[in-house]
Amino acid sequence: MSGMGRRFFLKIASATGAAAACSPSHAPEMLVPLLNPPENMVPGKPLFYRTVCRGCGAGCGVTARSREGRVVKLEGSPDDPIGGGALCARGQAELQSLYAPDRLRGPLVRHGTELVPVPWADALAQVGALLGKLRGADGFVHGLRMLSRCEPGSTGAVQKAFVSALTPAAKARVVFEPRDLVCLRAANTQLFGKAELPVLDLSRARAVVSFGADFLETWLSPVEQARTFMAARSGADRPRLTWVGPRLSMSGANADDWLRVRPGDELQVAIELLRWLVDPANRVAHLAPEAAAIRAALPPSRMPQGISPEQIAHLGGELSVRRPSALLGPAALASGGGGTALAAAVQLTNFVLGNLGKTVLLGLSSEEDAPSAEEEVRGLLEEARRGEVKALFLHRADPLGKLPASARAEEALRKVPLIVWFGERLDATARLAQFALADHHALESFGDLEPRKGILELQQPALSPLWDTRASSQVLLDLAATLALPGIVDKDFHELSKSRWQAAAKALGAELDSPHAQRNVQARGIVVGRALAAARPLRLEALPWFLGTRVSPGDGLQLVAFATTLASADPEAPGWLREVPDALTGVSWSSWAELSPITAQRLGVKAGNLLALRTEEGATELPAVINPALHEGAVAVPQEAPELRALGAMGRAVRVERTGKTFALPLTGHASQEGRDLARVVPRDEEPKHDHDHGHKHERGGTLVPPHEHPKHRWAMSIDLDKCTGCQACVVACYAENNLPVVGPQAARDGRLMAWLRIQRSFESISPAAPAETRIAVLPSLCQHCDAAPCEPVCPVYATYHTPEGLNAQVYNRCIGTRYCANNCPYDVRVFNWADPVFVEPLQMQLNPDVSVRSKGVMEKCTFCVQRIRYAEGVARGEGREVRDGEVTPACVQTCPAQALVFGDAKDPQARVVSQQQDGRAYRLLEEVNTLPAIAYLARRGGGEP
């Protein structure tokens, strides 16, 4: 990447930025050839780089598609066993954080109250000098601390070396992961003596019980879990999913049963379930020998409110026969004794049922850089408050912004004389720092990562840095050099990380002798070795410790903090995640508080009313949203909501009052499908068997004119509603691939979101009598590419028509914007450009050069990613062969973690999509209007019987 300087990108950016698709620019264009052409970069052709996603801890492998030196799209790396080629919504959105307009463009230093730009040399010199001053005679900086996010790789290693070289104090470096599953770690420590998280293999699970763990969307390693679980689900013996908790998350929406309990009662359910299982009277076979001991330690029985012994027995019976199973929990933000106890109960049940080592694997989570316990973080702040912390290094850690207000982080941090902060975008904490040192984005930096045992991921830059940033580890190495720190020899972080990953790779049995072999590893970006789950003995002495803890939830409303797939509520999240509405509630661009219909009625609250929430920790105001899938004892707030900090952790008692004010909530999507049976469910027993006519039934539906020919291909798709989790990864992928503009909250309120593909959620069988019966159906809705498309004949200028390959084409530059097509589309999938799109510099660098940027006044819609079809066809033509099945994948299909979407050529009898469309569950949307769509939906199956 020698020839490519920052200017080079900006140049190309400005060229692309000028892309006003539908009206050619009249000014004569200038051509600026490169001085030296960068090798292997061909303008107009994509380059692919392998690296790793740092969006969350899961560490999915990523393929970054780059055009003219700018990354335009992220996709999962097929070689990666974790992501398995898929990527979640947040992974997709990493791209927008790379091009975030408010990213730091260079280092800043405090000047009075301001943070002002400063050259790197000066910044380093000043930090060095200040550290020098703080250094005692022993060469140590007593009271130097470091707070960093989890860095299981070279970065972490450098930080540790740096800190330990500067201070003798143990635990001087604290790993700050506010979203970490602390309870699960704590429970594992108690029961099995190791602070670790399990790795799940749900493909073998025949029953899954989740105690509020949003495992298909946000919990632990969601992409992997969605894939494995849905793989199992599509099998003959469909595993049952039971959801235990006060609120259906999107994972809960996929459950077959819902044990609807008061917040906090999950623990009680877990204990009663455990009791039932270990009770000899129920004769559960093949239990762990410790069962008797556990039974002895169990507290006296107390049925949780609203749960009958029969339900427990039913669930217990199911688990006793459906082996192996997997019990998951608790939710991410469940903290305190209750959470840990629940986690322990869950793990204990897994142990008793022998799930450990089969579906719930211990001993695989990376031992490197495990997140510190909550106490350590609070301890650090306490030290600071006492003024014992002299210098604090922060690496992508924002205690001020992420910890509850009760932690009084600000007060503590203000006491610290020297704060050096590393990160990309100024956060709350950075605003208190003396030095804010701009770090590379993950896609700009080298590094290595061991997300779990047996897997080594290489972090490799997919483009050269956009701004004047530096890798934080490099900065630390430079500082070490200036301070002549003992024991730190490396000068260059790239070299260091290289030697480290090569060593690690060798350990994993990778073959690295020749440069060629090395290049192969780098090209794959990942090394997978063998790692076996460890069998862990149960520490019986731990039983009384947690079975003793009793939590009795109060009777009033309780706070439930839940994780959302997207981040509508997070003001720091990239535009895509804020704009795409939360699948369950339909809210975008705002945080909110959910009430059950019953509670809302009791308080006389309507959606959009501003509520005053008060806990013993503090108070805040949030707009109300009515959620039929919520227990009346709960008030649910998304964990990304900044307002949550004031209220404190989960399980707090909340007082809710109306403020009388209303808030214009950007809320989209009607709650019910009004009995129109769009998202269908087939009860398991009635499930029709494979019949090969069914797929074509609709084509026999009478048409006046003979169906037209598709000479070569007829592109088609199938969507399995039994697999779709509603995670919206496809939606964000579509935004990224097709240059969809982010239009903001007002447009959302006006109903003018630009999404081509939407997850249509509907609450079913809502009755105040039986709220536990509430079910959620999701229906991915995109252009159906009909054979007899109603939108086509009404266009006066042929701007939309049926291509020979069966696509419903939209020619933007021919469209004059009558909007008749949109009116006449029975599926409402056509999107109109109400205004010219705005891509704030440098976001326009993300635009896909293969897709027109649409101007105001034209209609647009899903194209089945025709540009990707053309690309695949081009590749095939180049190799002188036909396009293979599965070679063409629209962005949505490519990124679907659950692999619910299948795309292919309906004229190829071997194609997967054909067999899918002929499945017994296949049906077309709105068959009565006889539009002969190219998309077949596979009805969701009712739960299997135990």
Binding site: L31, P33, L34, L35, P43, K45, D850, S852, G874
Partner: protein, 160 residues
Amino acid sequence: MRRLAPLALFLGALGCQAAASPTTAEAPVKFSHKTHAGENQIGCGVCHPYARHSPNAGLAPASVCIGCHKFVSKEKPDVQKLAAEFTAGRPLTWTRLNRVPDHVFFSHERHLAIGVDCKACHGDVASMAMDQKVHELQMGFCMDCHREKQATIDCLACHK
């Protein structure tokens, strides 16, 4: 229908299909295709390296020019200017002569692959001392050829 070409052109212009672009380009240095492609028989691919395997033809990087002009006709003032700019690390800026609107996805690769001659669209550059635009690269121009050669006239072939 085509007999009404003047009217068509007028309305075409109204429809702003004709981007008002220059018909001859003033170059930063006096570059002559006549000398290079004509007299010295340098193939197009030498200076337009990507044409055969990419949608974009690409334009000679200064390094390529220098590659020859290190030795060839160093005395010419324009060559010296070029060398100066190159050593100063300043790229030359050329005026674009042939362009299609941003909503047109033309691929040099595809057209060269089926043996379309560069002349067909760019005219006989080998005989041009001063570059000039030979064809208004408008949709009609493409359509004529596509119809003639029975190539696809599916809109999505060029518009995405």
